[in-house]
Amino acid sequence: MEKDRLLPIFALLILLIGSASSIYVYATQATTNTLLVNGQHYTINQIFSLAKPRSFNESQYSGIALDDLMLKTGVSQPEQHKYTLKGADGYEKTVTWENMKNGLLTKDSESIFSNLPKAFRVKDIITIEVK
């Protein structure tokens, strides 16, 4: 088949894939008022009363210490685990204990790490899984 005929078909296929993915993403968007941390549900206020505060960049970013949160939620031998932070939109990032020691969770449920690129800022976190 000629390229002139193939291109529009390929373009339509791409539009179909993009549209179907958009519908799937919209349908599977998670909405919850709690965070699932190490297998237990907490509200953001409960989490903030649990762990000690932390701030970076002269208080430009402030929240609670992620490493302390994990200890307070019962993680033992924390350096032997990996931690997966999952956002409501499906975005997730896995980090090490060293990273958690330089990380904070904001009141808007966003992760910020002082030693990692901004790609590790997971917004609207709904789960912190210990692996």
Partner: protein, 214 residues
């Protein structure tokens, strides 16, 4: 001489692209617009298509991506600048591979349908491809490392986010072909001063804005 013109073209188009990403892209991110898809759909695809149909030389867009990505590294504000720089470089490479691989260097005049289809295919594949590459390379360059499962669960979102870039590409590519019909030629006498001056201006503005933002 032709080679020098080609290199000057890479520098000026790459600088314009990098300038747009740093200055216009940052402004878009500040007002919570989907800057990535808009920047790719308009500026990346627009400049790469224009340079490709003007010079018809494979490899040019890889160079443009490297210049634009380097400029983005000089402006560490507005979103993840390392991810953006990697994505820009990957987009240049992907555009070049797609156009060379699918032999899209069209010689005869094309219908609007073909131009629009080119816009959809290029914009979508370049944007989604760049997104995937940056999701792999950014963690690899960090202390956290890369985990394939983080990428797999996010594939539907990446495929969905490319739709906007594709829809913008429908307009951008035919607009570039229309602009090309105007057949604007720059005389050799002014070509180098204009390209070098414009490139220098882009770099000066970006570096100045970086210094002022610190």
């Amino acid at each position: 001489m032709k080679n020098m013109k080609f290199i000057a073209g890479i520098i000026v188009f790459g600088s314009l692209w990098g300038f747009a990403e740093c200055i216009i892209g940052s402004l878009m991110r500040d007002v919570n617009l989907p800057a990535g898809a808009i920047m790719t759909g308009i500026f990346a695809i627009g400049l790469m298509t224009f340079s490709r149909v003007s010079f018809r030389q494979p490899g040019m867009q890889i160079g443009m991506g490297l210049v634009a990505g380097a400029l983005r590294l000089f402006n560490p504000f507005g979103g993840c600048f390392i991810c953006s720089a990697i994505a820009i470089m990957a987009e240049g490479l992907l555009f070049d591979l797609i156009w060379t691989g699918f032999s899209l260097d069209l010689k005869k005049p094309q219908t609007l349908t073909i131009q629009a289809s080119l816009g959809i295919c290029s914009a979508y594949m370049v944007y989604v491809g760049g997104y995937i590459v940056t999701q792999i390379l950014t963690p690899l360059f960090s202390s956290a490392g890369f985990y394939i499962e983080n990428l797999i669960v996010f594939i539907p979102q990446m495929l969905a986010s490319g739709l906007l870039a594709a829809l913008i590409g429908v307009v951008t590519v035919p607009a570039v072909f229309t602009l090309k019909k105007l057949d604007i030629t720059v005389k050799d006498r002014v070509y180098y001063p204009v390209t070098m001056g414009l490139s220098a201006l882009c770099w000066i503005i970006v570096i100045t804005s970086t210094i002022l933002s610190v």
